[in-house]
Amino acid sequence: MATNARKTSARSRADGKAQPALKTPPPASFTKEQDLKAYRDMLLIRRFEEKAGQLYGMGFIGGFCHLYIGQEAVVTGMAMAIKEGDQMITAYRDHGHMLAMDMDPRGVMAELTGRRGGYSRGKGGSMHMFSKEKNFYGGHGIVGAQVPLGTGLAFANKYRGNDSVSLTYFGDGAANQGQVYESFNMASLWKLPVIYVIENNRYAMGTAVTRSSAETNFSQRGVSFRIPGIQVDGMDVRAVKSASDLAVEWCREGNGPIILEMETYRYRGHSMSDPAKYRSKDEVQKMRSEHDPIEQVKARLLDSKWATEDDLKAIDKEVRDIVADSADFAQTDPEPDPSELYTDVLI
């Protein structure tokens, strides 16, 4: 796929500058601290999501609830490459993104249970959550709608002349929405600092990419708009980190948008009520046993003797305590006051 990008970009652009070819960089070499951080951050997402699944089963969480289990390396590796001021926006499979942006697990879980201590004071729910303070711009329930919005965040960065970058996430399903390409066109035309992170988890709800997409190499979906793209092993947090470094630099240097296709996998159904009959158990099991993002780091930490089993157990305990605390809070925090019904409609 990199070849394809090279061919396109070799033609001179309107400004006369040829675009350099982009190749998928090799996985980053992590220090011990980075590996330990990646392990802990991914584990927090996984345990959080498992707990959310449990609370859904107990009736504490209602409506739709889309879990991120299996995809943890994507947001964790991306978050390791950004700096203060960079923005993130995604669709409704958003709990992992929020934790990666350092949002408080209590506030996220309490939003899932619809309580007043939730990030949206209980009025948004799993799919609609925001933190202006942490530069997390949602949490959007309409497939693909976050793509123009994230492009607009990048527009604001360019307008203001700062060097912030917008990380705009969407899935392989959203990649077939028309507004994605409207956004690609404007982002490239105006050289907006936006990284389009396509999380290709192989299924748009229950439809496999091969049944929904004429071009399944999503990194090349920007070719008509002269947006370069690379495919990344989204199960390896080091590969995500190095790709993210490259993309962030690309944007900060004023080169315009870039696409990162993250090849990833979700272990659970599309939402809690999806029995996932459209794929085989073997397929899921194979990903879990051979490509699990957390197990990969764990093995590395143990092999390199950067951590002992006991060290990892201690991390596990710390993470479980955080998650248990968030779940307790989310179950005991009161529902919003009825007077909240009419607040925040208009300023």
Partner: protein, 461 residues
């Protein structure tokens, strides 16, 4: 502590399910992720996965059991060193016990909290225009351009984007001269891509900029209506007040002349339906200027509906340094005592012409120009109807679920006793706009219809 495995809720609507099959038996070791049972819900057969590690100590609900309530303990998982005897026996479920307990803190579950009253909207009054202020004859087109230019001079975060707004100087010349004064950074030509640039504008507003998004006509904004409704209007609420969309969507709305069905539609009622939006639809140049300036300063998403036919019409505009009008306040265009005639935007043209005819017949008509569709200034309407006891509403949009019907409903419900005649609402005809000149004329409201309606409610016909 042995862990109770509860009957899980597996869909938004599930209250109970059938335990169709156990895939683990008592004594089996269980790891997180192992499928332990199959449950049939109202939608599908779902697998239940273990969350914790342990040994399946006791099965409390046998396979084949139907109608197992959500949250009933179905099995007990033992941790290292625990025995099955320590496990609790099967007990009747108390579904939703936990969520209820928490909810009770806010409101007792047995007596649902009463629905709180909606806050009452109170519009601010128009600013005083000092005596002796020079009135300058101005077209609506110039007034709109002046409003944008003034606000762009005042606030660096304000910019305008849309199709042909910059180099072409505006498809209807509303943005004439703005590129020359403010440059291409702040006057942005977009590709023909309404859905996309509406979303880009909203995203920029999330980040704190104040975009003015011009639609060449609101007919084309249908492409963008998802972004306007789902992203702009709802975000403040969904974010618990943390962030919203300070953005103005403006452009010509409604029928122009002979442009037929796809280019001739009024969206006042459509956007008026949506909580989280403010909808402005001015008639005069002064209102266009004062309200557009207010819209640009307003922190909420605003739909600003203009009209191509009105663009070239001239009205007096006060020459003031900063002429800003309140959004949500109707204007009494002409005072009268016999009948209240309510309209807005281009509809005012019919109202004003009808009033002249009716005056000749000896009727004293009060004309109210709504100016804003949402929030709607019911105070002004009600006060007028209490005085005249009769109401006619005129608009160009389609009749079903029209702005007029909404007003008529509120008026009959709240001040029924003041009415001396049924409320008559006049709208466009219930057909797509035809092209043929004669049919187009028939499809729109007419001055004659307004005159007849007023005569009907005053029992003169």
């Amino acid at each position: 502590m042995p862990i109770e495995i509860l009957m899980p809720a597996l869909s938004p609507t599930m209250e109970e399910g059938n335990l169709s099959k156990w895939l683990k038996k008592e004594g089996d070791a269980v790891s997180p992720g192992d499928v332990i049972a199959e449950i049939e819900t109202d939608k599908a057969t779902m697998e239940v996965e273990a969350v914790d590690e342990g040994t399946l100590g006791k099965i409390l609900v046998a396979e084949g059991t139907e109608g197992v309530k959500v949250n009933t303990p179905i099995a007990v998982l033992l941790q290292e060193g625990e025995s099955a005897d320590a496990a609790p026996a099967a007990k009747p479920a108390e579904p939703d016990a936990a969520p209820k307990a928490a909810a009770q803190e806010a409101a007792p579950a047995s007596t649902p909290a009463p629905v709180p009253a909606a806050p009452k909207f109170e519009a601010a009054a128009d600013p005083d225009i000092p005596a002796g202020t020079e009135m300058v004859p101005t077209t609506v087109r110039e007034a709109l351009r002046d409003a944008m230019a003034e606000e762009m001079r005042r606030d660096e975060d304000v910019f305008v984007m849309g199709e042909e707004v910059a180099e072409y100087q505006g498809a209807y010349k509303i943005t004439q001269g703005l590129l020359q004064e403010f440059g291409p950074r702040r006057v942005v030509d977009t590709p023909i891509t309404e859905h996309g640039f509406a979303g880009v504008g909203i995203g920029a507003s999330f980040a704190g900029l104040k975009p003015i998004v011009e639609f060449m006509t609101f007919n084309f904004a249908m492409q963008a209506i998802d972004q306007i409704v789902n992203s702009a209007a709802k975000t403040l609420y969904m974010a618990g007040g943390q962030m919203g969309a300070p953005i103005v969507f403006r452009g010509p709305n409604g029928a122009a002349a002979r442009v037929a069905a796809q280019h001739s539609q009024c969206y006042a009622a459509w956007y008026g339906h949506i909580p989280g939006l403010k909808v402005v639809m001015p008639y005069s140049a002064a209102d266009a200027k004062g309200l557009l300036k207010a819209a640009i300063r307003d922190p909420n998403p605003i739909i600003f509906l203009e009209n191509e036919i009105l663009y070239g019409q001239t009205f007096d505009v006060p020459k003031m340094d900063d002429f800003v009008l309140p959004i949500g306040k109707a204007r009494i265009h002409k005072q009268g005592k016999d009948v209240t005639l309510v309209s807005f935007g281009i509809g005012m043209v019919y109202a004003v012409k009808a009033e002249a005819e009716l005056r000749a017949m000896g009727l004293d008509v009060e004309i109210i120009d709504l100016r804003t569709i949402r929030p709607l200034d019911f105070d002004t309407i009600m006060a007028s109807v209490r005085k005249t006891n009769r109401l006619v509403v005129v608009e160009e949009g389609f009749p079903q679920s029209s702005v007029g019907d909404f007003i008529a409903n509120r008026v009959q419900r709240e001040i029924f006793d003041y009415l001396d005649a049924p409320v008559i609402t006049i709208a466009g005809k219930d057909v797509p706009m035809p092209y043929a000149a004669n049919l187009e004329k028939l499809a729109l409201p007419s001055v004659a219809e307004v005159v007849e309606a007023v005569k009907a409610v005053t029992y003169r016909s």
